[in-house]
């Protein structure tokens, strides 16, 4: 369960939002909405512990995330605007190395299976720079499937995806929620997922 009370964010001279409360429980997801520049990404960065909030506190299972540190990060996965995908490496290498850095090495057959599920069969050994924008996003999304995290924080996960990939990602999130997971995401599209809450900034 993730709760936050009285969050505010200041960027330079401007106050983006203030007094923001939110709560996400097991099986629930939060749809963060707002205009461009409203502070959606800033909120997600604060919730993921990348940046400290100007005011307010965030609790994970009742304990402040600042104190939990690594215990919180083990259960949380943040995917931002940037891919964190290395252009020089193949999708297969990207997936294996990212898992190793997280201290949870991945089985090679599992990695190949996941890539196939995301429609990257036959592209495993091609450097990522030869892939299209949508395919790069798919490599990134493959991480969602292999990293065992309870809380997903996704910034615009549907960008550059085709219809089929959008369905695939929706199914993946639904599966995650059904298993007691939680998700917080920003998107300009409406999403047909159960147990959703909307937060307008």
């Amino acid at each position: 369960m993730l709760t936050a009370t009285g969050l505010s964010c200041v960027r330079g001279e401007r106050r983006l939002f203030a007094g923001l409360d939110l709560a996400v429980g097991p099986g629930e997801w939060l749809h963060v909405q707002g205009e461009n520049g409203a502070g959606k990404t800033s909120l997600l960065r604060i919730l993921s512990s990348l940046a400290p909030p100007a005011e307010g506190q965030i609790f994970w299972r009742g304990a402040p995330i600042r104190e939990l540190a690594e215990d919180y990060r083990r259960e949380m996965l943040f995917l931002g605007h940037h891919g964190a995908v290395k252009e020089e490496l193949t999708p297969f290498e990207n997936l294996l190395l990212a898992a190793q850095l997280d201290g949870a090495p991945l089985d090679e057959t599992e990695a190949l299976g996941t890539l196939a599920r995301f429609g990257l069969r036959g592209r495993e050994d091609l450097a990522v720079r030869f892939l299209s924008a949508g395919q790069k996003r798919r490599v990134l999304l493959a991480r969602l499937a292999v990293r065992k995290a309870t809380l997903w924080i996704l910034d615009e996960p549907f960008t550059a995806l085709d219809v089929k990939a959008v369905d695939m990602l929706s199914a993946l999130i639904e599966e995650h929620l059904a298993g007691g997971g939680m998700a917080i995401l920003t998107s300009h599209q409406s999403m047909p997922l159960p147990n959703g809450k909307v937060l307008k900034i």
């Binding site: 931002g80 940037h82 290395k86 252009e87 490496l89 850095l101 997280d102």
Partner: protein, 221 residues
């Protein structure tokens, strides 16, 4: 420990795919060092006297060349964010990155230095001391450089700032590193200089990853 090895493997793999970056620094080192004997002329005694200084200054500058690229690509594609958010402590991952930087830029310099030293009429023993001094000194350059690279991450015109920040900090390594070979040539023995260099390295191994990590956290906030 596994995480450190994983980062080293990853960075070495990336360096293999981007060979030009590693080779540029290496060729720079070879060419700068080779220009001096050509420019000064074949005066054995003079060349022998200036050899340690030239080899060390060239090593400093060659290390500087790739320093700005230590964290910049990972910063640009979001990998650094993922490292900060990884369950693995950031300090370990950064230690791995610095180690990989030394393997790709420092170690080749150490291996090439004795070959280049021959141009300066250094004898076998002096070449041995040069290699030991560089072996202790080049990791120090990578460690100190990483702090500078982290502090200037995302700053416009960071390259110039980085040199201004880091080169003064390289002075002790330069003095003791070049001093070791000079002391040996003049018959004083290199032990003292090498011990001081090793002490600096021990201090930096302990302190630099911590400072780098702190600087990176600030850069990403």
């Amino acid at each position: 420990m596994n995480a450190i090895l994983a980062v080293i493997r990853r960075d070495l793999l990336l360096a293999m795919r981007r060979k030009s970056e590693v080779l540029t620094a290496l060729f720079f080192f070879v060419i700068v060092v080779s220009l001096f004997p050509l420019g000064i002329g074949p005066e054995a005694a003079l060349l022998k006297k200036i050899a340690p200084g030239i080899l060390w200054v060239a090593a400093l500058l060659a290390t500087m060349l790739g320093l700005a690229r230590l964290f910049a690509p990972d910063h640009a594609d979001g990998t650094l964010e993922q490292m900060v958010l990884s369950p693995t402590p950031l300090g370990l991952l950064i230690t791995g990155k610095i180690a990989a930087h030394w393997i790709t830029t420092g170690l080749p310099l150490v291996l090439l230095a004795p070959v280049l030293g021959i141009q300066f009429d250094l004898d076998a023993e002096a070449l041995g001391i040069l290699v030991v001094a560089l072996l202790l000194g080049t990791p120090l350059l990578s460690l100190i450089g990483a702090i500078g690279a982290a502090l200037t991450l995302g700053v416009r015109g960071g390259g110039v700032l980085l040199s201004l920040l880091v080169l003064p900090l390289y002075v002790p390594a330069l003095i003791f590193g070049a001093g070791a070979v000079e002391a040996h040539i003049s018959g004083l023995g290199a032990g003292g200089h090498l011990s001081l260099l090793a002490a600096l390295l021990a201090l930096a191994v302990f302190f630099a990853p911590w400072a780098t990590t702190a600087a990176l956290r600030i850069a990403l906030e």
